[in-house]
Symmetry: C2
DNA sequence: TTTCTTTAGTTTGTAATACAAACTAGTTTG
DNA sequence: CAAACTAGTTTGTATTACAAACTAAAGAAA
C-alpha cells in the first residue's frame, strides 16, 4: 500500500482554503477583498499566496476598477479546477482507505 | 461561511502520511523502518517528523532491540488518534461543502 | 490647496520548518 | 583488525509562509 502524494502547491493551508473558497462559488470567482474577509487572512499573505497559485496557473487574476477603486478578481482556471479535484480525490481515497469500519 | 482551519501539526504532508500509516494499522503501531519503507522517506526526515509528532503527544516512541539491532516502535496515542479523526472530519466537512452538485 | 485618512493591494524581511547530508553508535563480514 | 553495513540522530541549508512596512490613488477635512 503505497500512500499517494499530495500536490504541494495545493496542500498549503492558506492556498487550500483559497481554492476551496473559489471552488465553492458557482462562478468560480472571488474578489480579493472577499477572499481576505472570508479566509481572515492579511492582505500581504493573501497577495503572496495568490501569486504562487497564479504562477502554477491554478488561478487567474484580473485587475480592474469598481468605480475609482482597484478591484482584483480571482478566478479558478480549468487547470486549477482539475488539480483541485485531483487533490480532493486523493484525499478521499486516503480517507476511505483509513476507515475500514463501516 | 467561515472555512474551518486545519491542525498545523497534522497538516504537513510527511506527518499526515505518517499518521495515516499508523491509523491504517489495526494495532496503530509501526516500526521506524516500516514507516521509512512504506512512506519512502529518508531516515533523517522521518526522524525529525516523528520528533515533532512526539512533542505534540500524537505518537509515542518506544526504543528497544530486536536481537542486537536497535528497533524503534512508533505508536499512535489516543490523543493523536482523536486529533487525526478531527482532522479528517474537518476535511470531510470541507469536501462535502464543496460538492453541491449531486 | 495642502494635509490627513482610508482603501486596495504589493514588496521585503524574518522566523519557522521541511528536508537531506553528514554524523553517531553499534554489528557483521572479510 | 579494518571495512562495510544497520538503524537511527543531529546539523545545516534552502524553502517558504507570513506580517510589517511600504506604495499609490481617492476622499475628507481644514
Amino acid at each position: 500500500m503505497k500512500l499517494p502524494d499530495l500536490d504541494k502547491i495545493i496542500h498549503e493551508r492558506a492556498r487550500l482554503r483559497i481554492l476551496a473558497c473559489l471552488a465553492s462559488q458557482t462562478s468560480h470567482r472571488c474578489s480579493f477583498l472577499e477572499l481576505k474577509d472570508k479566509l481572515d487572512m492579511t492582505s500581504g499573505n493573501l497577495s503572496s499566496q495568490l501569486s504562487v497559485l497564479e504562477s502554477s496557473e491554478y488561478i487567474a487574476i484580473a485587475k480592474g476598477f469598481r468605480g475609482k477603486k482597484p478591484y482584483t478578481e480571482v478566478s479558478l482556471t480549468s487547470k486549477g479546477s482539475e488539480a483541485f479535484d485531483d487533490y480532493l480525490d486523493t484525499l478521499d481515497t486516503m480517507i476511505a482507505a483509513l476507515k475500514p469500519r463501516t
